[in-house]
């Protein structure tokens, strides 16, 4: 037997595609946010409401990642915003190459903000850079307040945490969820993270989130 030192990155192909996406977005001054969460946290509903709230101010496009179907892209397109559906055919995360082909199909030049809705999964997507400006992690109230502790990697690396479905908080529901615990646990890992509790159903909390988006878009222009 003999040993050979290699020392090469295993995901370098993905990193090269990510760098290419990042160059394209940076050169054109576009904000691109990679949305990561468990299935059912309300990512698409958040996007639909965000697009509607900001319709008159900025142009938003969406790359939708799902294992199968184009249900989500159709929901986005119904708002009038351009959306591209990518089916990963079983894979639990989007790759940078897939996002690159999604960007080719979107009218990027005309857009201010591009959302990438990753496949619903709180673990795998965090291992694959897509060339995005930043990651946004979404946690919804029914999932429980222990998720930042149980799945720290995604929370540690995100620029924004959206806590969705806060309309389910309060004594009238049966849901135990300590909002302050989530904030404290997340900030332990990530001091500078922006946290916006909101409800995509009622619209509560959207003003702060949308203002943050507008400022972030402005900064890159």
């Amino acid at each position: 037997m003999y040993k050979v030192e290699i020392g090469k990155k295993i995901l370098s192909a993905n990193e090269e595609y990510a760098a290419k996406n990042s160059r394209l977005l940076t050169e054109q001054g576009k904000l691109c946010l990679n949305m990561i969460s468990s299935p059912g946290s309300g990512k698409t509903t958040i996007l639909v409401r965000t697009i509607n709230e900001l319709k008159d101010k900025i142009k938003i496009g969406v790359i939708e990642g799902d294992i199968q179907t184009d249900i989500d892209a159709k929901r986005i397109q119904a708002t009038g915003a351009p959306a591209v559906q990518i089916n990963t055919d079983g894979a639990c995360h989007l790759s940078a190459a897939q996002v690159g082909s999604g960007l080719e199909k979107l009218p990027v030049v005309d857009l201010d903000l591009i959302f990438i809705e990753n496949v619903g999964n709180l673990i795998c997507p965090s291992a694959f850079e897509l060339g995005e400006t930043a990651k946004v992690v979404v946690l919804s109230v029914p999932e429980g307040d222990d998720k930042p502790v149980k799945y720290p990697a995604t929370f540690a690396r995100s620029k924004v945490l959206l806590i969705n479905k806060i309309d389910l908080l309060g004594a009238h529901t049966q849901v135990d969820f300590n909002l302050e615990r989530v904030k404290a646990d997340t900030r332990k890992l990530n001091k500078s993270i922006e946290i916006f509790p909101l409800s995509a159903k009622t619209g509560e909390g959207f003003a702060a989130w949308c203002n943050w988006l507008l400022r972030a878009v402005e900064k890159l222009r």
Binding site: M1, Y2, K3, V4, E5, I6, G7, K8, K9, I10, L11, A13, N14, A91, C92, H93, S95, I123, C124, P125, S126, A127, F128, V149, P152, A153, A156, R157, K188, L189, N190, K191
Partner: protein
């Protein structure tokens, strides 16, 4: 499950090295960071599956996990961050900056002599 993509990439890298040397690969050493979220069993299983029928069939993977480090904002200490309880071991400070995570790297391949 993202290990499948890692396994495929790993297979093509090892296959290329084996072909170059016209040798049979036996063991591959890999290192990864916390944020790669690699589960050893899943990666080995995925690799076994994709390696079936190739020169890499039956290979063993040795996986080293590298801790992510943080830089304490109070005392500048660089320390291994325990993500479940991140505290600076020197001053007890809780405000720190995460350092870049270790990449997923193919470190070394062992080939059989013949």
């Amino acid at each position: 499950m993202h290990e499948t993509m890692m396994a495929q990439s790993l297979l093509s890298m090892i296959s290329a090295e084996a072909e170059k040397r016209n040798a049979k690969p036996i063991i591959a050493k890999i290192s990864c960071g916390v944020l790669n979220a690699v589960n050893d069993d899943v990666l080995c299983f995925a690799f076994d599956s994709v390696a079936k029928g190739t020169a890499c069939e039956g290979m063993k993977l040795e996986i080293e996990h590298k801790q992510i480090q943080g830089r304490c904002k109070s005392c500048a200490e660089i320390f291994d961050v325990e993500l479940s309880q991140p505290v600076c071991p020197k001053c007890g400070g809780e405000d720190f900056e995460l350092q870049p995570d270790a990449a997923l790297v193919l470190e070394e391949i062992e080939f059989s002599k013949e």
